[in-house]
Amino acid sequence: MTTAFRLPKGGRIDRTKPIVVRFNGREVPAFQGDTAASALLANGIHFVGRSFKYHRPRGIMSHGSEEPNALLDVDRGGNRREPNNRATVVEAFDGLALKSQNHWPSLTFDVGEINDRLGAIFVAGFYYKTFMWPPKFWTSVYEPIIRRAAGLGQAPTAPDPDRYAQRHAHAEVLVVGAGPAGIAAALVASEDPNKRVILCDEQAEPGGALLHDVTSEIDGVPTSAWVKAAIETLDARENVTILPRTTAFGYFNHNHVALAERITDHLRVPLTGLPRERLWQVRAGRVILATGAHERPLVFADNDRPGIMLAESLRCFVNRYAVLPGRQIVIATTGASAYRAAIDLKAAGASVTVVDLRLEGDCGTELVAAVHAGVEVLTNHTVIGSHGRQRVTGLIVAKLDGNGAVGAPRVLACDCAGMSGGWTPAVHLFSQSRGKLRFDSGLDAFVPGASVQAETSAGSCRGVYDLAATIADGAKAAGGSRAVAASPTYTSFQPARIMPAPPGQKPVKAFVDFQNDVTAKDIKLAVAEGFTSIEHVKRYTTTGMATDQGKTSNMNALGLLAGQLATEIPAVGTTTFRLPYTPVTFGTFAGPNRGDLFDPARVTPIHDWAVANGAKFEDVGLWKRAWYFPARDETMHQAVARETKAVRTSAGIFDASTLGKIEVTGADAAEFMNRIYTNAWTKLEVGRCRYGLMLKEDGYVFDDGVAARLSPTLFHVTTTTGGAPRVLAHMEDFLQTEWPDLKVFLTSITEQWAVIAVQGRRAREMIAPLIEDIALDDAAFPHMAVRTGHIAGVPCRLFRVSFTGELGFEINVPADYGQAVWEAVYESGRRFDVTPYGTEAMHVLRAEKGYIIVGQETDGTVTPDDLGLSGLVGKAKRDFVGKRSLVRPDVVATGRKQLVGLRTGDLSLILDEGAQIVADPNQTVPMKMIGHVTSSYMSANIGRSIALALVVDGRRRMNERLHVTTPNGFAQATVVEPVFLDPEGVRLHA
């Protein structure tokens, strides 16, 4: 296979680096610097895919990111495969594998083509009108067929080997687009070395439209030389960052702009360490948008055949890639810019005919230049169709008479065609910035109107098309000026919504949105059916909803709709421009936030010991907590039974470091505690602890914990593990905004202290040898007291508290000593067979005692009284957070759920936590539920299962027999007090 359509010289490809890419398995020789599209075209391949709905053969239409048709499956090797890549932006490298999509069995022979024949039925919105009968068929027959037919390529199925990175950046000026306007803006903006300037462009190299403009000159030098000099200047400035292959895809509030940088996709073997893509979040002082303009296709019958391309794209392939897209080319146009393409193609050796809708008298110097160059020009001509199936073979054109009536058709044979319906400024980012668009009827386009953010548009994205003017405009946007002399730009044009066609022409498909197969007729139908808002037309026909988001099609759709409604385009308005400007990989958004970095895994100072001792862990918020410590092949149940027994018979040791801890300091500390907690704190003596309950203002239990008074002005408060951050935030909020007069400071000390709970009747004996400066006997150090001193030579705050109902201590030591002290205590406890236990055993132990866990017994709808804890509500206190809500009518009403214990009839049955409770299991559905199980365990100590539950009026139901759901029915359970063991609390004082 030869690259028959590669020109012998010219272009920006690197002829010293020949490469081979594959297309549907076939070898396609190319050069470094090619895109997939230019490589294919160099080999004469236009037909590269099938359309979405009708499976029509499709070729390459454009040369940039607006491409609607040429979507390929791209495999870069090593599981780097994904669908729907625009061939026009995929940079070629040796070994790159391309495949066409959406056909079966093959590209050239596709069964789906039948849809094209049935096109008369598959009009816009057809599926809303059918597939309803018989109803059952929808799920079993219709929908599966619809689903299979839909979608373009195949989603990736292999794990992604690539890494993605992110960066926040700040710039005084962000310039988007490195065409002449953007370059000029960056040059001016960066003159001040204190201004950080970022210049990004989605293309592989800066230059924009100038990359394929080989005929124009700026200040007497070729455009390429101008670009090169300008980029060298910018490169030399330390305050400038140039980002090629970087698309600005989202413009958010407060000048926050998101860029997607593609770092390795163009490399055959990415360097190790390099991320594939990077998300840049730029916060810019000013944003200059210099994003250029998109050429509009023409709407005429069968305008979608492979080989029919945008005129400017033909020019690009010839000049930038040295590829002749065809030898016999017809260019249909309604404006002047296409003549540049015609002249350049002619110069490259093609035979070229221009078919211009305009009258000869409306044409300017472009006509003279083209004729002079040997281009045949037919003015006052329309194009009404095309021939060819898998490749265009001719355009059907006709002359218009003086009244605009269409004359006799004639076929101009060709192997490639161009079309140009004028230009549409790329106002996407401007619109995303919430700027208002203004319709410019001279340009027949929307251009940026008033800005809402610190933003300026420059160059052809605001309708300035003349080369010298774009440069001046870019400079002006950056607050300077730059007057250059440049070759003239052909800019005049005459808008046409749809090319004039003979009346009574058979129903035809004249495509507006190529990818979604939306035709001019679909838009007409939508209007006839009452879908007159552009937003309705969009959604009914799906125009503009494909992967190109209508970059080339939206203006034609608008124009057609305006025509149908006999109104003007501004009255129709546009659809909303949304991010991303072009599709962006999920990986770019997710960045490094995966695996270990998906969310911080917080670990305690004793974590490594637990790992070394075989602990299984559970997630509690961000924390990893030791769940249980299986010995050899113990199941969880066996381990928990052993651990809980050990605590009740001798001693256990537990890592409680994750408990939230807050130091409340200041003269008003007690008053503050009074206001935050339901219970009273003023009278708590120094050296004593108290259990406290905290509500939100709505009266529901929010958190709980033990707080100790270390001095008249200092409380050491503990919170639940999960609640720590929100409790501190809650306290700070009240302190700063409601009670700024209180003399209190709050400091999180959660992580300052490792907490080792030693529980069981041997607890005191275990720690005694390690402590010299604290008297541990019951009288000197009673239950619910706190002391400071040393353990194993380490300073500690020693709490005598218990969440197990056993004699217990919680040893707080500075975190870096946590593991060493743990080991010392553990060593000291060996003689009592001290057993490390995890959170599961802790849960069982506390449930045996009926102690609640916030988040388990409570769910944000539970009051202190519901828990049987109304004793903790300081009735005498004038106020505390949540107090007023406790007397709302529904909160004081009877029929609330109250905490009780449950005993199952079957001693070994462990009820499901979350199981629902009914009084009568024989009711009909819907049944009346009167409660649910909040905690449920096998208690090895009691020798039976136990459960806690919230039951309607539960405290009045003692000994009542209720029925609890099980996976396959109901189990009987009896309501009991929620304390299963040692109700007198004797063990606490062992």
Binding site: L271, L274, T665, L710, K743, P795
Partner: protein, 203 residues
């Protein structure tokens, strides 16, 4: 309230973390145990007190002052973070407590709550910016700046220390990062991950 110091060696949470092979454009290292205190004090009281434990509190918010071994950072209108050598803990505490006696304040030992790291090198700022939304420009965040902020999903206190010479003797930015102990492995991993790219190519 400060408890007396122990004779035991402090075990840092990053003690076991393997250092990445040191690339030339960036160096990431963990810091030894240090003494740290949160000081809360009304702005007026701070002005009146001038300097405490040898450290001046008269700092703009989000700036720090340092002498050879100690450092005081003002993190908010009434909040300072004091850092010094582990061995100075008791004297720092005692000095401060003495100076503040009778004034409404909080002086809380958080030596073990935080973990410190340092990052230096030409690429240090962009590595931090991989997860930190701050503007780290030389004018916006010059040496002497310090603030609480975010790195990925963790909260950190970020200090811009004085520039240091790199291997080639060129002055490069130097940062200190403090985070809570349990986040340290995440923060370290995040930075090491972001630095990988610079280790690979950009030196």
């Amino acid at each position: 309230m400060l408890e007396n110091r122990s004779i035991m060696r402090r075990e840092g949470i990053l003690d076991q973390v393997a250092m990445p092979a040191e690339p030339s454009s960036v160096a990431l290292r963990t810091l030894p145990p240090e003494a740290r205190f949160v000081l809360r004090l009304g702005a007026g009281d701070a002005t009146r007190n001038g300097s405490i434990a040898g450290l001046s509190l008269a700092l703009p918010i989000n700036r720090f002052g340092a002498d050879a071994s100690r450092l005081a950072t003002r993190l908010g209108p009434d909040e300072w973070l004091l850092i010094g050598p582990d061995a100075d803990a008791e004297t720092m505490h005692a000095d401060a407590a003495r100076a503040l006696a009778g004034t409404h304040h909080a002086l809380v030992d958080i030596s073990h709550r935080n973990v410190g790291m340092e990052l230096s090198g030409r690429a240090a700022a962009v590595i931090l910016n991989a997860g930190c939304p701050l503007d780290l420009g030389d004018r916006q965040f010059p040496p002497g700046s310090a603030t609480r902020t975010l790195l990925g999903k963790a909260e950190v206190v970020l200090f811009r220390l004085a520039d240091v010479p790199d291997r080639l003797g060129v002055a490069v930015p130097h940062y200190r990062i403090e985070c809570w102990r349990s986040f340290a492995r995440y923060v370290h991993g995040y930075l090491a991950g972001a630095a990988a790219e610079y280790a690979a190519v950009r030196n």
